[in-house]
């Protein structure tokens, strides 16, 4: 009998050894740095990638940017300035407490005002006047003006709980104490700037997640990410270097995916003020009375002189798509009518002559040298193209820290816009809107562009509730800005990922790397 028990124990022990219960782990090499687990601390892609998995939002975005249900299952505009969101039933926080409308009320009170935070979430809520719970499973949001885009903007705001978050500050989220969400993964550990570890939330309401554990390792150097995925240290990396892509494609054990992304790279001419004077001179170096860049014909001439296909092909090595607007194909308010202009030097020269600059002028273009891939080389190429039509162009490349604090002094600068609204409005409102804090316009407008007709069109478009009609009105506004060459769009950056063979990840237009969407 004792022997039998002993043998049985031995056999079961052996079976335990031969069939160990192993969880599935995913390790991600992330290019950006996650600075905080507080989802309202900083609106940047790496932070949002983590926040999107620990927390949920009322509405969510698919990989292609379509708006879908999140913690809200239904949203309707009950009046012109009132939205009603019906919340998902049976959702529980990671600690088991049920999720209710009160948590949403708490979140929208917190998201725009975290102390000492670079933030960036206030803009999504600038239209909100009041928010009220309607029972446990609905919230009613009144807005200051008609706000048809509110559901889309709320796809950026992670919903946090009142019971864990009341009185908590960013440090409490970083330590995990307040980082209690409803999302696909629970918080496990966070080492600032090094690593975030997550574990699966078995009770998540969404689709099944493959991974029991997901570890994000922050590897900022592109070559270190390359060697990490080649050596098998990580399962997936984002933002591979353009020069390594051919190698990834030819490596048997790896897979490469990419999509044109939301981030547009553009040249921004300074159209008003006096700041241009140091960087624009006459053809022979003499001081100019009027700013040539204030003339739309000059801006259009510069745009037409650029060979975008050549830049995308030769300098970006195919990791970008030439663009004449600021959205990738298929996005809301993308217009197939607006194609990237064909390079036509004769036309460009004629336009310059009509504007009163038959001999061109001298221009200095500023570009950040540590922010956008290959940006200095792109601007060098543009400078040669412009010099060919008589605009003698110098290039000055600066580190982002210096560039960003001096950017209102430049006459022409290269910038990128990540576009958090997933449509044309973020550029139209924040960058091209006339600076007007009261109306919430032009918060990032440092080139002095102002076009009352455009402001009018945009303001009107942003009050149309019917999606089709709003899209059409936005496209009309985009056309006004494009005809005016308010900015000179160059290309949409592609977002790319490399995975080990056997994994699949639908490339996202918004640069985020989500473990919950990586499948086997």
């Amino acid at each position: 009998m004792t022997l039998k028990v002993y043998l049985f124990a031995l056999a079961s022990a052996a079976s335990l050894i031969s069939h160990p219960v192993v969880g599935k782990d995913l390790t991600i090499g992330l290019s950006g740095t996650v600075t905080s687990l507080d989802p309202h601390f900083y609106n940047a892609s790496p932070n949002n990638s983590i926040a999107m998995q620990v927390f949920d939002r009322l509405t969510e975005r698919t990989a292609e940017g379509q708006l879908v249900e999140g913690l809200a299952t239904k949203w309707e505009a009950v009046e012109e300035t009132t939205w009603r969101f019906t919340l998902r039933e049976g959702v529980k926080w990671h600690d088991g407490v049920p999720f209710t409308a009160d948590d949403v009320v708490f979140t929208l009170g917190r998201a725009g005002s975290v102390p000492n935070s670079p933030g960036g979430f206030g803009g999504f809520m600038r239209n909100i006047a009041a928010i009220k719970a309607d029972g446990d499973l609905a919230v009613v949001i009144t807005t200051k003006a008609p706000a048809p885009t509110l559901p889309g903007e709320l796809a950026n705001i992670a919903i946090v709980s009142r019971h864990a978050g009341e009185g908590a500050d960013t440090a409490d989220y970083n330590s995990g104490k307040a980082a209690i969400g409803t999302g696909a993964f629970r918080f496990s550990t966070f080492k600032q700037g090094i690593e975030v570890a997550l574990e699966r939330n078995p009770n998540w309401w969404g689709k099944k997640v493959v991974w029991d554990h997901a570890t994000y390792r922050m590897i900022s150097s592109a070559s270190a990410r390359t060697t990490a995925i080649l050596a098998g240290d990580v399962d997936i990396i984002d933002a591979p270097a353009a020069t390594d892509i051919a190698r990834f494609k030819s490596t048997e054990k790896l897979a490469f995916v990419s999509t044109p992304g939301l981030r547009v790279i553009y040249l921004a001419p300074t159209t008003s003020g006096d700041a241009w004077k140091g960087n624009v001179k006459g053809a022979n170096g003499e001081a100019l009375e009027v700013n040539p860049l204030a003339d739309p014909r000059v801006r259009n001439a510069l745009s037409v002189a650029i060979n975008r296909e050549g830049i995308v092909d030769k300098i970006m090595e195919g990791t970008a798509t030439a663009s004449g607007q600021w959205l990738p194909k298929g996005a809301f308010s993308y217009s197939a009518d607006i194609q990237p202009p064909k390079p036509e030097l004769a036309v460009a020269k004629k336009m310059l002559a009509e504007a009163g600059f038959p001999n061109g002028f001298q221009l200095t273009v500023h570009v950040p040298n540590d922010r956008y891939p290959n940006a200095p080389a792109v601007v060098q190429a543009v400078a040669q193209m412009w010099t060919r039509i008589g605009v003698k162009t110098n290039v000055e490349a600066l580190p982002w820290t210096t560039f960003s604090s001096r950017k209102s002094e430049f006459a022409m600068k290269l910038l990128g816009l990540g576009n958090a609204t997933y449509d044309a409005s973020s550029m139209l409102v924040n960058v091209l809107g006339t600076v007007d804090p009261k109306r919430g316009l032009g918060a990032s407008n440092d080139s002095g562009y102002s076009n009352p007709v455009l402001d009018e069109r945009v303001a009107k478009a942003m009050t149309i509730y019917d999606d089709k009609a709003r899209e059409a009105a936005l496209i009309e506004a985009v056309k006004v800005a494009v005809n005016d060459a308010a900015i000179i769009p160059l290309y949409q950056q592609s977002n790319a990922w490399v995975t080990r063979k056997g994994l699949s990840y639908a490339p996202r237009i918004d640069e985020r790397t989500l473990a919950k969407d990586v499948s086997e």
Binding site: G29, T33, T35, S36, F41, Y42, N43, A44, G112, S113, P115, N116, S117, P118, G119, G120, F121, G122, G123, F124, R126, T170, A171, N174, K191, Q192, G193, I194, R217, M218, I219, S220, S221, S223, A224, T227, A228, L230, A231, G232, D233, D370, P399, W400, T401, T402, S404, S405, R406, K407, L417, G418, A420, S426, N430, V431, P437, G440, A443, S444
Partner: protein
Amino acid sequence: MTLWITQRLLQAMLVALAMAVIVFIGLHLIGSPIETLLPPEATHEDRLRLISDLGLDRPLYEQFFLFLKGVLQGNLGISYVYKEPAVALILSRLPATLELAFAAVLLSLVFGVPLGLAVGWKPESSFSRMVMIGSIFGFSLPVFWIAILLIMIFSVQLGWLPSSGRGATETIFGIPWSFVTLDGLRHMFLPAISLSLFNISMVTRLTEAGVREAMSSEYVRFAKAKGLSPRRILSVHVLKNVMIPVVTVVGLDIGQTIAFSVVTETIFAWPGVGKIIIDSIAALDRPVIVAYLMLVVIMFVVINLIVDVTYRLLDPRIRLQGE
């Protein structure tokens, strides 16, 4: 000697203070952290709130005095980017950098000193010639190139060692160390080797030069005449005399490796202070940069102090200044 040590420490504090002033003014000239921190979607209100939260609306001298007040209370400021105390942030990364630096220095002593002794003893042998040629490579090949080469061979091609990160850590006295776990040692191997190759070459050459000089000195000739074994002559009599320049160089080297191992840390994604200082400079995260540089100054002074004390232990004839 106590007086002398106190003097040195006071000097260190003055230098650290001067450093803080220079960095404060320098960073102010580079630009405003607000522009680098704010996301493009930020509103006018976001901007104004952040400027006043961080105290950047006050004049620079006022910001500096607030900073000094904080220093006297043991608080070097809160990181703008991470919103954690700057000192805590740096100290949390320091163990990773320290263990890597010490591993590299240890390797350079373990390999460099015996090689130098052997080569100095018989400079004409073919082994010695090979070592000396090898050390020229060690000197002249850049660290980052060696690092990438090592990764390509041992991680990518052979798959023996991991290419990045620190691996498993074990907590001792509340600090996570990776040299106590096998996985951690595997992760440390390549970065330590690439950091130490230069140091090994230097220590080898220094030791070799010292030994050759000592060989012609009277005490060695006397020892030889007395019939002592070469092992005893080298390890007891020669070694002590050649160690002084080696200690100087190794001391400076530890400081260099700790403070400026940025390149190696970046290539191996080693989570040390190098990475955080680069990130902080890119974000103009002033509290972290100031705290880091002040710590570096203090560290260099302490290392120099230890070097000076070691001199005295090695050679009692040396008197310290002020003694």
